[in-house]
């Protein structure tokens, strides 16, 4: 039996995550396999009687919505479940890699690139599949959140995305199988395509033979990038219910990931513009006009100004490339092609589109080498880091100040509207901001950088207003970070209270004591009361 360790001062870091929020817990465990997850959950249920302890599941604690911050009870940290379990070739020729949930993305990438996947203990057929994969073209796992120390289980729990989700879709698209431990310790094994709902009814059979007849909520998810609440659709695949459920329906104990072939040629192009209007118009033209684009990212004037400041302030960012003062904002376009000639043709087309929309062939950086790609990656990642440094400076005078970062998306045809909303309302409120993110998916992280607690409060009011407007545009209040504990109110704005109650009722069917992920998606009282309230 895995140890259930009382919380003490040495373990305080497990009460926090990257959202910079902090919670409380009585105990913590570090299971190493599914059996230990089951044992912990059964133990907690056995000793807890009618009020078993809440269980907050953690991976690498890199989430930004406080999904891994405990709300009392027990912390189940899966970071030690980091083994690679096997590989198979699916009927469609796809390589499917089974991993434990604590495998870290950067490690997975390194092993795939260097062909060093730890395969001790694998079955002979898994070894054969591995040999075959190594003999062929290089493979990679496409989901690319900025934080590469994220673990795969956490990425599935919040349906993580990244820059390349423009082409490859979010995490959901690359999970072919899941094993899930339910709150009572029973297990479910799901493979994509095998268990589907009938309309909005889903029959789910556990490995012990128990069958749940689940009533799925009646809402419709938006036609926009979305990580807000449970994925629900008519005739949906059962696996999609657990992906993006923020650790509220079960504990993911194993994932089967599909691997993709590394494109022969990958070029990144940073394009600089003097106005945001031109940058947005170019974005719309690029995503419609060039098929090989895998990512379109944006950095606004506020973001570039902060980078300029950090670059000259003698920080670690002093090695960033020089930004011309005439450049107001930047659109990063990544091309993935099957040969160099196609990449050149795409680059020429991109150049034409830039020139047609106020850009210039000279005001671009083209990364075709590893060193240049690394420079552009450093540049893109330096933006949020620089903003954090700026906020840290401000916290010296007022420790309560934190940045406010949005994660909202809208459908393609509302990009210009949402940009106008951000600009108009930020100017009205007189708030400093920096925006960056996945403009190809109409999904920007607009960060309000408060200089005082008054501005912080004004920023929060603004976000609430944006949530209403974005929902009105048919968008989502969280596109990739998940809802966690920080965006619950926005989720209510998005779906309305009646649908939140349906979500809570669904949760209660699988987790009657509402132990898992307490406080994520909806208030625990609502989860326990459900549709009776």
């Amino acid at each position: 039996m895995v140890d259930i360790i009382p919380m003490d001062r040495e373990l305080q870091s497990y009460l926090r995550d990257e959202s910079r929020s902090s919670g409380t817990a009585d105990s913590i465990s570090f299971p190493r396999d599914e059996g230990e997850i089951v044992a912990v959950l059964r133990h907690l249920r056995a000793v807890g009687g009618d009020a078993p302890a809440a269980v907050t599941v953690q991976g690498a604690r890199t989430g930004l919505a406080a999904g891994a911050v405990p709300a009392g009870g027990h912390v189940m940290n899966l970071s030690r479940m980091n083994r690679y379990l096997g590989l198979r070739i699916d009927d469609d020729g796809t390589y499917c890699l089974r991993v434990q949930p604590g495998v870290v993305l950067s490690e997975l990438r390194r092993h795939l690139k260097n062909k060093t996947l730890p395969s001790q203990g694998w079955a002979p057929e898994d070894h054969a599949a591995l040999e075959r994969m190594y003999a062929g073209p290089e493979r990679f796992f496409p989901t690319d959140p900025t934080e590469t120390s994220a673990c795969l289980g956490g990425m599935a729990a919040c349906n993580a995305s990244g820059a390349r989700s423009f082409r490859y879709g979010p995490m959901r698209a690359h999970v072919r199988g899941l094993r899930v431990v339910l709150a009572d310790g029973d297990t479910v094994s799901l493979r994509r395509g095998e268990v589907r709902a009938q309309g909005r009814r889903l029959r789910l059979t556990t490995e012990s033979g128990r069958t749940y007849d689940l009533a799925l909520p009646t809402y419709y998810i938006p036609h926009a990038k979305n990580a807000s609440g449970y994925f629900i659709d008519d005739d949906m695949d059962a696996i999609d219910l657990f992906i993006g459920s923020d650790g509220t329906l079960g504990v993911i104990s194993e994932l089967e990931l599909t691997l993709s072939e590394v494109p022969a040629v990958t070029w990144g192009v940073s394009c600089f513009f003097s106005t945001e209007t031109d940058a947005c118009a170019a974005t719309v033209a690029i995503r419609a006009g060039i098929a090989d684009v895998v990512a379109i990212e944006y950095f606004d004037a506020g973001a570039l100004d902060i980078l300029r400041h950090q670059r000259t302030a003698g920080t670690a960012f002093s090695t960033l490339p020089m930004l011309d003062d005439a450049w107001s904002c930047s659109v990063y376009v990544e091309l993935a092609c099957d040969c160099r000639d196609h990449a050149l043709a795409d680059l020429a087309h991109l150049g034409e589109l830039l020139v047609a929309h106020g850009g210039s062939l000279d005001d671009t950086w083209v990364a075709r080498t590893d060193a240049d790609r690394e420079t552009l990656r450093f540049f893109r990642h330096a933006v949020p880091e620089s903003v954090n440094m700026l906020i840290d400076e401000r916290r010296r005078t007022d420790p309560a100040i934190t940045k406010l970062g949005s994660d909202m998306s809208v459908p393609d045809d509302r990009l210009l509207d949402v940009m106008d909303l951000y600009r108009t309302t930020l100017a009205e409120a007189g708030l400093q901001s920096a925006a960056w993110g996945h403009i190809g998916d109409n999904h920007l992280h607009v960060n309000v950088l408060p200089r005082s607690m008054e501005e912080y409060a004004a920023g929060k009011r603004l976000f609430a207003r944006w949530a209403v407007e974005v929902v009105r545009m048919g968008g989502a209040v969280s596109a990739e970070h998940g809802v966690g504990k920080l965006k619950r109110d926005f989720l209510t704005t998005m779906y309305g209270e009646a649908h939140i109650r349906e979500m809570a009722a669904l949760k209660r069917q699988l987790d009657p004591y509402c132990q898992l992920g307490q406080g994520n998606l909806f208030d625990v009282r609502l989860a326990k009361e459900g549709d009776r309230a």
Partner: protein, 265 residues
């Protein structure tokens, strides 16, 4: 002003692997890159060109390399970043050259390029680490040499002044042109090409010359012209080992304490 930047193609990986049987670098097909020190030298040259161009002084930057034909692609990339011309010395006869034979070939290449006011080199190459090419080239050209330049102070048609690193610190050197400067890696970061630069390079011709075309003395190039003889090369054996200590926090602490006690006994 004509500025020549000498560049070398080196393995792209920083994790160079040695073949334990042959004790040579494993060239596993990974793409080559411009030696990072030479990339910095190119950026310095381009910055000089930018400043002089704005001031109305015509300046040309030429990249020069000795290497296999595939090096042309790297030189073309240098053009994409702003170099005006590229010359590659490529011939089987150049193979096996040490720094002296390489310097001789490069000096012949420089002669082929006509009047040269300034030669810029990386301080050293990441695969050889000799730091000999720049000073040897200066000797061969009978030009002044400033090694390990940390910052360029001034350059005009007749002279150059630069801070360079010494064992004790830094020193300001001023000398007449022509001169050879070698630069440290972190002095500047090579700019990225623009879309315009990429297509300009696609249209450009990378000039190539064989050993005979640069009128070299066959006895001074390649293996024949290399007095350096490698008697033996080997990979140092590593004796370090690691062990994982498991158990409760107290058990782990006790085990660490015991290990320290054993080590200091």
């Amino acid at each position: 002003m004509n500025i020549v930047v000498c560049v070398k193609a080196v393995p792209s990986t920083t994790e160079v692997k040695m073949d334990p049987k042959t004790n040579t670098i494993v060239r596993d097909g990974r793409a080559s890159v411009v030696n990072p020190f030479d990339a910095t030298a190119l950026e310095i040259a381009l910055q000089i060109k930018d400043e002089r161009t704005v001031a109305g002084f015509p300046t040309t930057v030429i990249v020069l390399s000795m290497g296999i034909p595939a090096t042309q692609e790297l030189l073309r990339d240098c053009i994409a970043r702003g170099a005006d011309r590229a010359l590659l010395l490529t011939d089987r006869a150049f193979a096996g050259a040490d720094t002296l034979a390489t310097t001789y070939a490069l000096a012949c290449g420089l002669r082929e390029l006509g009047t040269v006011d300034l030669v810029l080199c990386g301080k050293m190459a990441v695969d050889g680490d000799t730091a000999q090419i720049g000073p040897e080239l200066a000797g061969s050209l009978e030009a002044s040499c400033i090694t390990d330049v940390r910052s360029l102070v001034r350059i005009d048609d007749a002279s150059v002044a630069a801070w360079h690193a010494t064992d004790e610190g830094t020193e300001l050197i001023e000398t007449d042109l022509p001169a050879v400067l070698t630069v440290s890696k972190d002095v500047a970061q090579l700019r990225m090409p623009s879309i315009a630069g990429v297509f300009s390079a696609e249209r450009a011709t990378c000039e190539t010359c064989s050993a005979a075309e640069v009128a070299t003395d066959p006895s001074r190039i390649g293996l024949a012209g290399s007095p350096t003889q490698v008697v033996r090369s080997f990979v140092p054996e590593r004796a370090a080992s690691a062990q994982v200590i498991e158990g409760t926090m107290d058990e782990q602490a006790a085990r660490v304490a015991a290990l320290i006690e054993e080590a200091v006994r």
